[in-house]
Subunit: 190 residues, 2 copies
């Protein structure tokens, strides 16, 4: 059945996300992923013919997950929405870790996820600029425009994730992000 096959694939993708979080992409062996869903390495290759095909599926799943969690936590004010996304992320270290590791890895030569992250950051910056424009208009503190603030917003989200993953006790990711929103002149601060 194609239903069963889809379920199996979803299980495998989930397992791959976990193993990548623990050991990175290069360190994530197909055998370790397979074992987690009760398959042999060769059995897994029936669903994803190569390791790279599995990675592509993991990245595609992330995009879908983004859309879903945005819908789930959608509120009226765009920046509020981003703040709740950060709060939500703070409860899901596994996923955050997987994509922090992959994004870092992707800057290496000929990395199979490089094009994905290049494109992803481009549209994330565009989305952030739109969001900032809707929230604050054309003029932001420090003489910034939404387009110039956008890469900073994205950088803060990513950079905080690294610090938080390394030392969750020392870095309150959600609070820090609200601090940044406050810097932009928003009302994200309590």
């Amino acid at each position: 059945m194609s239903r069963t096959t889809g379920d199996r694939r979803a299980e495998i993708i989930q397992a791959a996300v976990e193993v990548i979080a623990e050991r990175g992409y290069r360190g994530a062996s197909l055998g370790a992923v397979a074992e987690r869903v009760g398959l042999t390495q060769q059995g897994l290759l029936h669903y994803f013919p190569t390791k790279e095909a599995l990675l592509v599926a993991v990245l595609a799943a992330r995009d879908q997950w983004d859309v879903a969690s945005t819908a789930l936590h959608g509120t009226t004010w765009p920046l509020e929405m981003l703040t709740s996304l950060v709060e939500y992320n703070a409860t899901r270290p596994g996923i955050v870790q997987t994509f922090t590791v992959l994004a870092g890895d992707s800057v290496t030569e000929d990395h199979p996820a490089r094009a994905y992250f290049e494109e992803r950051y481009r549209w994330v910056r565009e989305g952030a600029a739109d969001m900032l424009r809707a929230e604050f208009g054309e003029r932001l503190p420090g003489g910034l425009t939404p387009e110039r603030a956008a890469p900073l917003l994205v950088a803060v989200m990513d950079g905080l994730q690294v610090q938080w993953l390394l030392d969750p006790a020392a870095v309150d990711m959600a609070a820090a992000f609200r601090d940044f929103v406050a810097l932009l002149g928003g009302t994200g601060n309590t």
Copy 2:
């Protein structure tokens, strides 16, 4: 001679930095590093008995490099100094890439560089807080304190590096950093 040995070790460390930038830590084989300095893999092991020992040396070299470049570009105003560090980094994609990759990798389980980055971020945040206090005093825009702005400053630097490495044409790392300084109420903006 111990002089020759030191030179050789320095060469090897430099080669390791390059190979890690290209392929990540797990992807950086000792053979590839050795080849770059005209040695066999086994010849390299004479200088660094294990792969992990070489990584430790790479991390130690980074700390020394930090100190050196700080001295080199030191100016009177602390934040100006950081801005020139970012400008300097924008001319050295190799080093930036190595440590972006290593930092991302380090969040995985039992990674040999994990403790290093954990400590490093701790003191970098402390240093940033001191710098912000010296520059702006106790009160920053958005009701922030130096301690609360510090992780944001560090996050911006790191996050911009990822975006810049992936797409240098789309992200002007130094300009964006100056924009962030402007947000803090500084005069880093032209």
